[in-house]
Symmetry: C2
């Protein structure tokens, strides 16, 4: 029973707070993603979580989306960032003189959306974004590099994924060729075909006054999906529209670069159903799915945009980027027992005093900690319960310091996995542990 | 000129946004602090930045400090966290059944205070906290471990510091002995003696109706400061008050443990002027100063508290912790040219095509990136300007891929530091780079 004076400890719904044994795994995943970005020479950026509403809502002309955490403080009208893209746009516009382009930056940080929490949706979530921003122009090698990085991130995370790639110019041009006026509405319908099904999509297209033939043509083209060469061969005869040809040539060029990067052919495909809702994508688009769990939906998406910072500067800054929603991905992996097999502890050695040898133990901690993660168990509890606890925590080595050990300076080292126990000098303990870890 | 349609890109005052070359150093410092905590087997915790006001303001009975970012969203009354201690208290109270105590956790994260920005003060700042929380009791070895960790963190950061240590029971007991009723007000005055000077402090004490003798006694005891043994010898005859003796015995015991940890004697001292304002400290207290720049003030403080989570649970949870305000420290180091000498780039190798060899370059990136951070410079710029840019970025190695290189598969590797240039196979390039980094 909690006394009425006490505040009941709890967190807000839609916010993830992990137990440390899980946080270790989450942090390890962040570490792997960070190292992969740095391996491709992306530089880190950390923008504030709070910005002026005028900045973060520039896109919507200042209109406040209900989802955004928004408030006033003093004279300032503030928002918590809801993605990492608008802050990037603001940063490059603000610092365009100092930045050397192409600017390859990664940012791993929290973003906020106060939407009604649903299964698998979070109000506070960690985004792991990488973008390559050019000044005036940016070659298609940048698009290939993003896809290369996706393939490496998931390989390093030990998750088997398939990257579905398309180019929006193909559908833009194809719609133009079919004399479709309202391309945006058509793409919105086609984008949700996996959710609503082919028949419903067709009905919605017919409602837009598309002819039966055009509907069938659209449903056919977005069904094209497979390895690049075969799919390119199927796409080639479909249209001579200029935008279409541009898209096809971009896909062909991209394919050359992806092959040069030696990405495993099993890891990517050309898939015309990949559209991505956001208006700002203008060329390459991609979504990433887990092969064993396509029902998770896309776990990493992105694409090419022609003008990142148009709300903040007249300089033209084309870019291409990828984004991983790590909080959602972690939650899905956790619930499906798919988390990478990382030990739930960073501790390599625990030193346990048997009797009044605490100072000797601290001195041993000082010695061992030069080379490995170690601690002294200085709790006022029984030796037996300490050993049990260490086993539960999966600590690999225990060092026991009792009277014999104190006198002989040979310490009892227990391997908690094999159960093996040896009497060794501290130097020999270190050698044995280092050899086995 | 910015067109009137554009939003001027800017950030809020009091918020730090570093250029990536500086962010690399900031992140490296976080990395060093993280590894030091993990080396002592602290586990990571990441609490939400947003919590219910009822939770974060439990201490103040829900009264909103002007500094706190506070707002409503839907039915929720929310705050952005202003420290990492209250969220820790909430976490341990909420999860006390699952946690094995002592709970040693570190948390490196942002906190928010919307105070009027002053020189060196930030509204968004990164705190690097480590705490050891016990259930019912916690031995003094934990206090020693915190001091050990401080000494290691700053050693690993290559900053020469002096840790000033005291124990609040000494002054509590001494005031009791002098029959002082309003100990809290007295300690508040003594705490700011370095700011206001000895004479002003004395005047303020006299205003509290302290006798001239008592004022002098207090000013004498808080002037005691030096190595532990000498200072303990000076403190021993001053009082027989029980609380005072308790404090003195705790200091003696702590000293034994610090010596056992083999912390360099030059790194710490006993300093009775260390009080720390916060009410909740009950025993050991400490502040850390840079030896070369004491005017920076304390860059890491902390201490022992008897009851961490009293607002959330009836379980008694004593703890001891340390806290580094990294944003402020980084800013001070930066402004005084004291940042650790870390390269402003993570890039080890940049591959530059000379002519139409982009695919060969991407393939080489794929090869080298297995072992080191590398990138292809695929910009549409002249070779000369690319070389100049690489020099400016302090990239240590450049690989040139032109017609000769393409034909012979021997690539021109240039060491940008020595200027040395060799024609080597990709395998030999890798060996040479790895040997020299």
């Amino acid at each position: 029973m909690i006394s009425p004076k006490l505040v009941k400890p709890r967190i807000l719904s839609g916010f993830m707070e992990l137990a440390p044994c899980k946080q270790i795994i989450f942090n390890k995943m962040i570490d792997i993603i960070t190292k992969t970005y740095e391996n491709a020479c992306f530089v880190p950026l950390d923008t504030p979580i709070l910005e002026l509403s005028e900045i973060l809502l520039a896109k919507s002309g200042g209109e406040i989306d209900k989802e955004v955490y928004h408030f006033n403080k003093g004279d300032n009208d503030l928002c918590m960032r809801y993605d990492l893209t608008v802050p990037l746009a603001r940063h490059v516009a603000m610092n365009s003189e100092a930045i050397s382009f192409p600017f390859k930056r990664y940012q791993i940080g929290k973003a906020y959306r106060g939407e009604r929490p649903q299964k698998g949706r979070f109000r506070e979530f960690v985004q792991c974004d990488g973008d390559i921003v050019g000044l005036e122009d940016l070659p298609l090698t940048a698009d290939a590099e993003c896809i290369y990085i996706i393939s490496k991130i998931f390989k390093n995370l030990n998750l088997d994924v398939l990257i579905h790639i398309s180019n929006r110019n193909l559908l833009f041009g194809y719609c133009e060729d079919l004399n479709i006026k309202d391309t945006k509405s058509v793409l919105t319908i086609l984008d949700k075909i996996n959710k609503i099904g082919k028949d419903n999509a067709k009905n919605e297209l017919l409602k837009l006054n598309l002819s039966e033939t055009n509907c069938e043509k659209l449903l056919y083209i977005i069904s094209l999906n497979g390895n690049f060469q075969d799919t390119i061969d199927k796409l080639t005869p479909l249209s001579q529209n200029q935008t279409y040809i541009l898209g096809l040539n971009q896909i062909k060029e991209l394919y050359r670069y992806i092959k040069a990067y030696e990405i495993n052919e099993e890891q990517y495909c050309l898939d015309l159903s990949i559209i991505r809702g956001q208006d700002y994508y203008t060329g390459t688009v991609f979504e990433t799915f887990m092969k064993s769990h396509p029902e998770f939906g896309s776990i990493c998406g992105g694409g090419r945009y022609d003008n990142l910072a148009g709300y903040f500067t007249e300089k033209k800054m084309p870019g291409v980027g990828l984004s991983i929603g790590l909080t959602r991905l972690f939650d899905l992996l956790d619930k499906n027992n798919l988390l990478p097999p990382i030990a739930p502890t960073n501790t390599k050695l625990q030193i346990i005093p048997l009797g009044d040898y605490i100072e000797e133990c601290l001195s041993l901690q000082s010695f061992f900690s030069q080379k490995l993660n170690c601690e002294v168990n200085y709790e006022n509890r029984s030796f037996k319960s300490k050993m049990k606890e260490a086993g539960k925590k999966q600590i690999p080595y225990i060092l026991i310091v009792g009277e014999n050990e104190h006198n002989s300076k040979k310490y009892t080292l227990k391997n908690m996995i094999t159960g093996e126990q040896n009497s060794l000098t501290k130097e020999d303990c270190l050698i044995q542990i280092k050899n086995n870890l």
